[in-house]
Structures are given as structure tokens and as C-alpha cells.
Symmetry: C2
């Protein structure tokens, strides 16, 4: 559960989140700051769903409604602070956004839901070349590998 030391500390200081929000006509609120803080303080490589965000904030004494959580997530995705992921069925996950060049990808255990991250420069290149080859302007690309993790393999065998 260490704070992420690698990423630029956007929102680490309240100043910055407010600046980014106001630049686009959004308002700074304590709820949005708390949600961003949660991402900044959660373990590197951890992905949060709306439900987990609400539970964790509640654990630290902050009661925030789902409407507010979902609205905050959408705003932060639009501002490129967060990235939305479709790792598992039924719900979306969010993580701090990493600059396009350092994009990472995911290996998901379909049995227990464990997620591992990996970098692969090749991916971004392929995504880039495929999209330009067809005249698309690239927004982002996701590479997700589904399998069964070692511990689930031993449980199932």
C-alpha cells in the first residue's frame, strides 16, 4: 500500500487538481480530491472499481455517494488523470493514467481476478502503425491477456 513514487504528483498538492479542473470549467471539490488521493495512495498496479472506492473512503470515515463517485471518475478520465479499464466482467476499473509512451498492459486470472501488469513497447508501436495505416487517429490501445494464475491452477488440478 505504498504511495506511488513514479508518477508526476498531480493532485498530490491540492493546487494542481484545482488548476486542472478549473482550466476546463469544472469545479474543485473535496470529494474529487479525496477520490484522487485514494488512487495516489493505493498500491502501484492496483485497480479500483466504484464500489471499492466507496468502501475504502468509508473505511477512512468519508461517506461519498455513488453518483458523486461516478461523476468524479468520468471527469478525471476526461481530464486524462485516470484511465478506465475493462478487466473483468460486469464492472469497470480505474487507475492513475500513465503517459501514452509508458502504457502498460494487463494479465488477468479469470478464476480469482488477480491482475498483473507488464510493459511492452511493441504493443504501442503496433497500435500506432495499425491505426496510421488505416487513417485512424490513435486514442489508446489496450492489450489484455486472460489466463489462470499459478495458485488457481494448483487449486483446480
Amino acid at each position: 500500500m505504498e504511495p506511488n513514487p513514479v508518477l508526476p504528483s498531480l493532485g498530490q498538492e491540492p493546487e494542481l487538481l484545482k488548476t486542472v479542473l478549473n482550466k476546463e470549467g469544472f469545479r474543485f471539490t473535496s470529494q474529487r480530491q479525496k477520490i484522487l488521493d485514494l488512487f495516489q495512495s493505493s498500491a502501484l498496479g492496483h485497480h479500483l472499481s466504484a464500489e471499492e472506492i466507496q468502501r475504502q473512503l468509508l473505511d477512512q470515515g468519508e461517506k461519498i455517494s455513488f453518483s458523486t463517485i461516478y461523476r468524479a471518475l468520468h471527469v478525471m478520465v476526461r481530464l486524462d488523470l485516470l484511465q478506465e479499464l475493462e478487466l473483468a466482467e460486469g464492472r469497470k476499473y480505474y487507475e492513475l493514467n500513465t503517459p501514452c509512451m509508458d502504457q502498460h498492459h494487463h494479465l488477468v486470472c479469470v478464476h480469482c481476478g488477480a491482475v498483473q501488469e507488464f510493459d511492452e513497447a511493441t504493443m504501442t508501436q503496433v497500435g500506432q502503425s495499425e491505426s496510421t495505416a488505416r487513417g485512424f487517429s490513435l486514442l489508446n490501445c489496450t492489450f489484455t491477456v486472460y489466463g489462470i494464475c499459478p495458485s488457481c491452477q494448483s487449486l483446480l488440478s
Copy 2:
């Protein structure tokens, strides 16, 4: 709208779908055959949602309920006849399954929803090596590139 000439003609003859179903304890029904037929007769590279399946069947005079469509889709995914895709928000798409080695990937226009397919052997290799390196048993991997297609670019500029 040509029938797909490349894939093995599973279900092209009623015999085969029945065989595959019965082998796993499922029953052959006319609804399941009609749904599979729809995939076989739709254009290569076309992806169908449950709603589109119902509409297209209705257009050809076959009324099938959503419960039946969803159940048939799940069965056929379990039997490896179909593959489930998460191309766009909010709904799932299905397509005839291609053998693992010939897996293809998708380029999606986030504005109009247009989908293009591309092959990229590299992907499967990376998925394979990443999963074995971490002790995962690989099930499948998806590479999806999001962008804006040429015609939407000109509309928006």
C-alpha cells in the same frame, strides 16, 4: 454479406452443430441453429450483439426471445464456436471463433463505432510469453485499438 468461405463449416450442415452440442450434454434446437446460421451468413469481420441478432432474425421471420439468444450465445462460447468481444461500451459482441493461432484484433472508431480487423502474429506471441513467464496458463488475449476513423475525422474537423 457473403458467407464466410474461410472458416471450417461448423454448423453449416445441421449434423455438426448437433454433434458438438450433444457431446457436451446440450440439446440441438432450431433456435441455436438459426443463430449460428446468422453468424455463418453475415459478412466476414462483422460483429453481432444480442439485439442485432434478434432484429436480423425477426427480419427473416424468426421470432426468438432474448433469454434464448443469450443462452445460445453462452453455450456456443463455451463450445468454442463463438467468441465474446468487448468492443464498445455497454454491450457485448459476438463473432465466429477463429483458432487461437489465427487470432485477430480490432481497431474501433470511438465516434461512429466502425470496427476494422487486423492480424498480428506478434500479439499472440507476446501474450504467450508474458503468461508463461508468470506461470499463467493462457486462455486468450485481446488487443483493441481505439481511435477516430478517417470519415469521422473529416466530419469533426
